[in-house]
C-alpha cells in the first residue's frame, strides 16, 4: 500500500522518465558531432573557399567578380524562372491528375496511385533519358516524322531548349505534388462533396470551394518541395543536353570542373544555398500564416 502511494506521489525536480539535463546533453552530442563533421564542416569549407581568391588572402573579390558577371546573372534568372515555372506546372498538372485518381471512379485507379509511389523512386536522369528517346534528334517522334514525310530531319527540337528542361522537370516532379495531395484527398469526407452536389454545386464549384481549400496545405508542401528540388536540379539539365541552358548548379559544375575556378564555384554554391534556405524560410512563414 505504502509503495503504491509512493509511486503516485509526484517527485520534486525533473519529471520521471526524462534523463538529467547533463545526461540529455551527452545524448545530443553524437548526432550534433556527426552533423558537424559530415555537413557543417564541408559547408564551412565552401564558404571559406568563396572568400579566398586564387591570388591569396581573404577578400570578397570573388563575390564581386561573380555577381558582376553576365553569365551568373543569366544562370540565376534561368534557375529561378525554370524552378518557378516547373513548380507551377507540377501544381496544376499534379492537382488535376490527383483529382481524377481520387474522385473519378475508373478501373485501375489504385494501380495508377501505386505507380505514382514507384515513380518517386526513379532517378531524375531516367525520365530525361526517356524523353530523349521520344523527342531527341534521333528519337521516336522525329524518326516517325522522317519515315512518314521523307524529310531529312524531324520538327521536334525543343528538348535542348529551356522548354525541354521545363517539360522534363514537370514530368519528373509532378508525382512529388501528387503524393501529398492523394493523401489529403483520402482524408476528405466524401459526404462534403456529395452534399455540395445536392446543394446545387457543379463539379468546378465543388473543386474550387470544397476540395481546393482542404488541399492547400498538401499543395503548399508538395509545391515547396518541388521548388527547392528544381532550384538544385542538376541531372535533368545535364541529360537533356541543353547546352544553352545554364542553371546555378550547372554553373558550379562548369566553374569547378571545367574552369578550375574554385572560389567562383563556391560563390555560386553559397548563393544557391542561400536561395534554397531563403525560399524554405519564406514557405515556413507563409504556411504558418495560412495555418497549414
Amino acid at each position: 500500500m505504502s509503495e503504491a502511494v509512493a509511486a503516485v506521489r509526484p517527485r520534486r525536480g525533473r519529471p520521471r522518465g526524462l534523463p538529467r539535463p547533463s545526461t540529455a546533453l551527452l545524448w545530443a552530442l553524437p548526432p550534433t558531432a556527426l552533423l558537424a563533421v559530415v555537413f557543417l564542416y564541408p559547408l564551412a569549407l565552401v564558404v571559406r573557399q568563396s572568400v579566398h581568391p586564387d591570388t591569396g588572402g581573404t577578400s570578397l573579390q570573388p563575390y564581386a567578380d561573380v555577381l558582376a558577371s553576365g553569365a551568373f546573372r543569366e544562370a540565376l534568372w534561368t534557375t529561378v524562372w525554370l524552378a518557378l515555372a516547373s513548380t507551377a506546372g507540377c501544381l496544376v498538372l499534379g492537382f488535376a491528375l490527383a483529382l481524377v485518381i481520387a474522385f473519378v471512379p475508373f478501373p485501375g485507379a489504385r494501380a495508377v496511385s501505386r505507380f505514382v509511389d514507384v515513380f518517386l523512386s526513379f532517378p531524375s536522369f531516367l525520365i530525361t533519358l526517356a524523353l530523349v528517346f521520344v523527342y531527341g534528334t534521333a528519337g521516336l517522334a522525329n524518326g516517325l516524322w522522317t519515315d512518314l514525310t521523307g524529310a531529312a530531319e524531324g520538327p521536334f527540337r525543343f528538348l535542348t531548349t529551356p522548354w525541354g528542361v521545363l517539360l522534363a522537370e514537370i514530368t519528373y516532379f509532378t508525382p512529388f505534388v501528387m503524393r501529398p495531395l492523394l493523401a489529403a484527398f483520402s482524408q476528405l469526407d466524401t459526404a462534403q462533396v456529395e452534399v455540395a452536389g445536392s446543394l446545387g454545386a457543379r463539379a468546378p464549384m465543388i473543386v474550387r470551394r470544397v476540395i481546393l481549400p482542404e488541399a492547400l496545405p498538401a499543395l503548399a508542401a508538395g509545391g515547396s518541395l518541388v521548388l527547392v528540388l528544381c532550384l538544385n536540379e542538376f541531372g535533368i539539365v545535364l541529360f537533356t543536353g541543353a547546352k544553352d541552358v545554364t542553371t546555378l548548379p550547372m554553373l558550379v559544375y562548369g566553374k569547378a570542373i571545367l574552369e578550375s575556378d574554385y572560389p567562383g564555384a563556391c560563390v555560386v554554391a553559397v548563393v544557391n544555398v542561400l536561395i534554397s534556405v531563403g525560399l524554405y524560410g519564406l514557405y515556413r512563414v507563409v504556411s504558418r500564416r495560412a495555418g497549414a
Binding site: 459526404a191 462534403q192 456529395e194 452534399v195 445536392s198 446543394l199 446545387g200 457543379r202
Partner: protein, 348 residues
C-alpha cells in the same frame, strides 16, 4: 412535392443492395426508412439524391422522373450523419453555399441565411467556424444549410447517430418543430433507431435485407405488425409458435384466447405480444413457467420466463419483491393485445 420509387433496384458488383423498391411518399409527409445496417435504407436515400444509379426502376420527385438527373439538378436538401460542413467556411458561408451555387442574388442570400439560422437557433454563431461548435450545433448548421435552398424534399441520413442520447432527444424535438413550421417539405428520414422513427415519422417503411418489409403509420406497425421482423424491430416483441384451434390457439400445451379470424383452425402461426403488455400474476391467457433471467431497469423489471421451452419476455413496473431465478412465475396478457402472424417466422 412527393417522392416515388418505382421498382428501384440497385446493385454493386452483382450484389443487390436494394431490391425492387416500390414506395410513395406524399407531399409534406415524413417517411422514416427504418432498418438494420445493410438493409438498403441508405441506398434508397442515395438513389433519391442521385449518388447511386438504379440498375432498374425509376425515381420520381413529384411528377418529374429524376432517375437520369445529376444531383445538382434535383433540387433537394440533404443532411448526413457526419454533418459534412465545409471546415474552412464560417457558419454563414456554409449556409450560403447552396444559394451561391444556385446564383441567388447577394441581397437575398443574406436574408435567407439569416432566416435559416434563425429557424435552427444558430443565428448567434453565424461568424464561427464549424470546429468551434459542438456536435449538436454543427448538425443544426447542416440542417440550416439544407433548408436555406428551400428544398421541396429534405433527405436526412442518420442525422442524429453521431450525437449522445440527451442531445439526440433534444434534436428530435427540434426536428418535429421544424416539420410543423415547414409543413410542405417532404422528409425522407433514414434511421436504425426505432424511437426516432416512431417519434418523428408520419409513416415508417421497415427495410431488411435490401427489401421493403412493411410500411404503415407508427401506430399500425406497432399495434398490428404484418410480420415477425417488423414486430421485433419496431418496439420488440414476443414471437411464440402456436397452433390455431377453435376460439384461439395452443401455445406450449396451453390454450390462449385471441382473434384468429385471419387463420384457419389447425394452422400453425406465430403469436406476437409486446413485452410491456404481458403482466405478472393471474389474469386472462395465463402462462406458467420458471424465471430464467431478471433485469432491473430502474422504473421497470424485464423478466425472461421459460414457458414450455420457449422464452417469454415481460416488462413490468418495478417489483418490490422480485422472484428469484428458477421460481415459478405466472404471466398473462389480454386477448386484444396479441396479434397472429404468418407461421414459422417466430422460429427464426
Amino acid at each position: 412535392m412527393g417522392i416515388r420509387f418505382d421498382g428501384v433496384t440497385v446493385a454493386y458488383d452483382g450484389t443487390v443492395v436494394l431490391d425492387a423498391l416500390d414506395l410513395t411518399v406524399a407531399p409534406g409527409e415524413v417517411m422514416a426508412l427504418l432498418g438494420p445496417s445493410g438493409s438498403g435504407k441508405t441506398t434508397a436515400l442515395r438513389a433519391v439524391a442521385g449518388f447511386v444509379r438504379p440498375a432498374s426502376g425509376r425515381v420520381f420527385l413529384g411528377d418529374r422522373d429524376v432517375t437520369d438527373l445529376p444531383p445538382h439538378r434535383r433540387g433537394i436538401g440533404m443532411v448526413v450523419q457526419s454533418y459534412a460542413l465545409f471546415p474552412h467556411l464560417r457558419v454563414e458561408d456554409n449556409v450560403a453555399f447552396g444559394l451561391k451555387a444556385r446564383r441567388v442574388p447577394r441581397a437575398e442570400i443574406r436574408t435567407r441565411v439569416a432566416e435559416a439560422l434563425d429557424l435552427t437557433g444558430m443565428a448567434a454563431h453565424a461568424r464561427r467556424h464549424p470546429r468551434e461548435l459542438s456536435g449538436g450545433q454543427q448538425q443544426r448548421v447542416a440542417i440550416a444549410r439544407a433548408l436555406a435552398v428551400r428544398p421541396d424534399v429534405l433527405l436526412l441520413d442518420e442525422p442524429l447517430s453521431a450525437l449522445d442520447a440527451r442531445l439526440r432527444s433534444g434534436m428530435l424535438t427540434e426536428l418535429a418543430r421544424l416539420h410543423r413550421e415547414l409543413p410542405d417539405v417532404t422528409m425522407l428520414y433514414v434511421t436504425h433507431d426505432q424511437v426516432e422513427a416512431l417519434t418523428l415519422a408520419d409513416r415508417i417503411a421497415v427495410m431488411d435485407r435490401a427489401r421493403l418489409q412493411a410500411c404503415g403509420t407508427p401506430r399500425e406497425l406497432y399495434r398490428a405488425p404484418a410480420d415477425a421482423f417488423t414486430a421485433s424491430f419496431v418496439g420488440g416483441a414476443n414471437l411464440l409458435p402456436v397452433t390455431v384451434d377453435g376460439k384461439g390457439a395452443r401455445f406450449a400445451g396451453t390454450h390462449v384466447e385471441l382473434d384468429t379470424t385471419a387463420a384457419a383452425a389447425g394452422a400453425r402461426a406465430t403469436l406476437c405480444v409486446r413485452p410491456h403488455l404481458v403482466g405478472v400474476g393471474d389474469g386472462p391467457n395465463r402462462l406458467t413457467g420458471t424465471l430464467a433471467e431478471i433485469q432491473w431497469r430502474g422504473a421497470t423489471h424485464r423478466l425472461y420466463v421459460d414457458v414450455g421451452g420457449h422464452q417469454v419476455m415481460a416488462d413490468v413496473r418495478e417489483l418490490r419483491e422480485p422472484p428469484g431465478l428458477g421460481d415459478a412465475v405466472t404471466l398473462h396478457f389480454a386477448p386484444e393485445d396479441a396479434v397472429l402472424l404468418p407461421a414459422g417466422v417466430g422460429d427464426e
